[in-house]
């Protein structure tokens, strides 16, 4: 299902979460707890997630302490692949790809919890030495056209913003499969900062916000470790 190139098994397990759900069968108490937790998260967030604007997330100075919208808001896109490469050396730091058709968009978010949208990446140290990185996302879209799709990503180290991305995909064709590769210069970092990043796993992290017509419908978090 997931084809894997040049990445260790641990890394795959983490991003797999965005493609596949691991429903644990038979554990009814846990399931109920999860459901309850999901409902309360929904209740807490649903009242205000419509007020989360692109301007608001662009003004954030640190990672959020919680997810800013319920999982069930996403009935529009499903991720199908991620790739991270060094454009100059060709080294591939990360590559997962799922060629299968997307699941039913109305129901695919049912029965999952926040671990689904919390990713843990482990990269080689070389990643921090790269000058130009290319990150590719691949996603499938729902049977309806998406009018104005926009993604804003904020990367932090120790609660300090180090890089942000703001990209408008605009229109997405119904039932389409799309890719976006962003090739960018890695921000200049001091040797001591690089050392700190290696020594402090998961203090490098990111918030990814996804909007349709400036309304938030998905929020993912990622944590990075360098080895």
């Amino acid at each position: 299902m997931i084809s894997q190139a040049e990445s260790g098994p641990k890394k795959v397990r983490t991003a797999k979460r965005l493609f596949m759900k691991n429903k644990s069968p038979g554990n009814s108490t846990k399931e109920l707890q999860n459901q309850f937790q999901k409902m309360s998260i929904q209740k807490n967030n649903e009242n205000n997630s419509d007020n989360i604007t692109p301007e608001y997330v662009c003004s954030l100075k640190a990672p959020t302490t919680r997810f800013l919208c319920p999982l069930t808001k996403n009935k529009y896109i499903q991720f199908k692949g991620f790739k991270i490469r060094d454009v100059e050396t060709g080294e591939i730091f990360y590559n997962v790809h799922d060629p299968t058709d997307p699941e039913n968009f109305d129901t695919f978010m049912q029965g999952i919890d926040d671990s689904f949208r919390t990713l843990h990446y482990q990269f080689s140290k070389n990643y921090l030495k790269s000058k130009h990185i290319g990150t590719t996302v691949e996603f499938a879209t729902c049977p309806e056209a998406i009018p104005n799709f926009r993604m804003i990503e904020r990367h932090y180290f120790k609660n300090k913003l180090i890089k942000s991305f703001d990209f408008s995909f605009g229109f997405c064709i119904p039932n389409s499969r799309n890719t976006w590769e962003n090739v960018y210069e890695v921000p200049k970092m001091s040797q001591s900062m690089i050392k700190e990043m290696i020594e402090n796993p998961e203090l490098t992290c990111s918030d990814s916000f996804y909007f349709i017509d400036d309304k938030l419908f998905m929020h993912n978090k990622a944590f990075f470790t360098f080895k």
Binding site: V87, E88, G90, H132, G134, T141, F167, F169, G170, F171, C172, I173, N175, S176, R177, N178, T179, W180, E181, N182, V183, Y184, E185
Partner: protein, 185 residues
């Protein structure tokens, strides 16, 4: 890295350039996009949506949109016209006669679009590595390119498979966009 070099040399006045790459299905749009980026081109499947490349350098941005060319997708092309600085029209130079007719028809209707009327037009006469490929002169005549007055255009023979002339074409279109932007000042 070819594209990053272009961007470096092209200190554009405009901070962001948008290129739209269109053409019939199987013309080689995605292969061109990957080849100029130094990516593997051995397994490319039909594009059922779009592929975008963004290149960011010193605060300058180049966005290339490759939108699928299958018949069912062509009706959505118009959703990507807005703010296009350059149109790259890709042709399979070894295609059948009826497909060339269709290609001409599609290009002519695109050029009537107000939203892309002012954009620079680069025509990639692709697949020159195939023995049956028509020359760029033959294609220029068949597509009646000389009658185009609405925009700057250029036809470039190329091979996405070998990479021949891809960077040359990209240089032309980014330079042309730059010169147009300067002229406006």
């Amino acid at each position: 890295m070819g594209l990053l070099t272009i961007l470096k040399k092209n200190k554009l006045k405009e901070k962001e350039i948008r290129l739209l790459m269109l053409g019939l299905d199987n013309a080689g749009k995605t292969t061109i996009l990957k080849k100029i980026n130094g990516e593997d081109i051995s397994t490319i499947s039909p594009t059922l949506g779009f592929n975008i490349k963004t290149m960011e350098l010193d605060g300058y941005k180049l966005n290339i949109w490759d939108v699928g060319g299958q018949k069912s997708i062509r009706s959505y092309w118009r959703n990507y016209f807005e703010q296009t600085d350059g149109l790259i029209w890709v042709i399979d130079s070894a295609d059948r006669k009826d497909r060339f007719e269709l290609c001409k028809k599609e290009l002519q209707s695109l050029l009537k679009e107000e939203r892309i009327a002012g954009a620079s037009l680069l025509i990639f006469a692709n697949k020159q590595d195939l023995p049956s490929a028509l020359s760029k002169e033959q294609i220029q005549e068949f597509l009646e390119l000389d009658s185009i007055e609405s925009c700057h255009w250029n036809i470039q023979s190329c091979s996405a498979y070998t990479g021949e002339n891809l960077v040359k074409g990209m240089k032309w279109i980014t330079n042309d966009i730059r010169s147009r932007i300067f002229l406006l000042d």
